[in-house]
Symmetry: C2
Subunit: 231 residues, 2 copies
DNA sequence: CGCGGCTTTGATGTTCATCAAGTAAAGTGG
DNA sequence: CCACTTTACTTGATGAACATCAAAGCCGCG
């Protein structure tokens, strides 16, 4: 983990469009004074479940997983999110401590803003509050619908769904490096690693997927979508 | 469904403590002018997934289920909530239409406030916005952790978990009328009805539960908690 | 009394986890 | 750069958990 605090570039940050569109340039500069940007390397923990919440965290670049540990030692992945989505999840306003852990799946940069300052902004600026409500609601709804979708599918359907999720939501391409291990895919969809691998092999055998080293290529998207839907 | 609009009692509504503690008496009276109270009978639909959202709904009395329909015809229950929790869920700020349906499990009364007015309040009153953020976050986190908990458990664990959920969160008692059919329990935990029944019978045989007509009594809470935890 | 809903139970088959063994890939130290 | 170790991945065989199917019991209601 590395801190880093350059001349304020927040005014022109793309970021701003998303959460802070209600703040004018002066306000953004002020916000900037309450901000630290931290970078994390692939695999690093950004925070652990149970850690006290005192920052509002936003993913600026990279990719992270939100997860928790189960009693029997393995992880349960809640979601995988890309830049401009919340890192700290929505609990910042309702909890004292993070309910879930967050770790970097790729090298990542996180904007961390003093939570007390964000709360002050909510109290003072209705538009800002509204923007936040909208964003938080959306993030939550995404997680919930993801979980419901996965719950009703069989193994092949789940694996197909996750591949399409990565392809559509994260990489916007039919070809991408899978950012998670087979075990992590298993932890995401709640299945055993062995069966995830088996299913991937099946997909390969059927010509739906092709692997080149760490990269996967979706060769028959229609078929994959069908499996995801019907599973 | 029945509308009903008495002299404004909102000033003294318990309700107020939860979502509207930031509003003074005068504001509550104003809010009241944008409010309709509707009552629903057991089984009635409060709204369907896909319906446009134009009210902020709060459950005043009764019990409701939040659910959606799956492709193969049965329901997927997201959560069951009791009075003073959101009915419309959190999507009110992020979606145009309800993502899920809501139906009354028991005779219920719902406070419906004009959504445009709520949004106006958020913009004008930071404290109100903060209260809403907190409440929405909490409701979401509850749903997510519920889903994650259920996901990792086996059948017996899930059934035990749901019984404890009803006992603890809804009825606050070891003895209560199960407000849902066996099929609905199955829809809630994502298992087949036959196996839910089988598990309940097992629990009865082992002296963990006792049934008197529609009422269930948790006789060995410790054991049920253990099954829920270990499942 | 008889009909239709919900509920229960048993028998059977499928899906998936688990176990175990083996292979490829990626570090690591000489 | 190569042997060595470790880690990630892969595949097959087996058994447990659970869905599905079918039949029967219960209960309220006309």
């Amino acid at each position: 983990m590395k801190d880093f605090d350059p001349e304020c570039l927040c005014v022109s940050c793309e970021f701003r469009e998303i959460a802070f569109s209600y703040l004018d340039d002066e306000m953004i500069r002020e916000l900037c004074r309450h901000k630290v940007e931290r970078t994390y390397r692939k695999g690093e923990i950004i925070h652990n479940g149970g850690d006290p919440i005192n920052e509002f965290k936003y993913l600026k670049s990279g990719l992270v997983k939100l997860f928790r540990n189960t009693r029997n030692g393995d992880e349960q992945i809640v979601t995988i999110t890309k830049p401009f989505e919340f890192v700290s999840n929505m609990s910042i306003f309702s909890e004292e401590r993070y309910p879930y852990s967050v770790a970097a799946l790729e090298d990542s940069a996180v904007c961390c803003i003093d939570l007390a300052y964000i709360k002050k902004l909510v109290l003072e600026n209705g538009g800002f509050a509204m923007g936040l409500l909208t964003k938080i609601s959306k993030a939550n709804e995404k997680i919930i619908s993801l979980t419901l979708d996965l719950r009703q599918k069989n193994l092949a359907g789940k694996v197909a769904y996750v591949l399409l999720y990565l392809s559509r939501e994260i990489y916007n391409s039919n070809v991408f490096d899978i950012p998670v291990s087979r075990k992590e895919i298993a932890d995401f969809i709640g299945m055993s690693m062995a069966n995830v691998i088996r299913t991937l092999s099946d997909f390969k055998r059927e010509g739906i997927l092709a692997f080149h080293g760490r990269t996967v290529e979706i060769q028959d998207r229609k078929k994959l979508e069908l499996i995801s839907l019907m599973g």
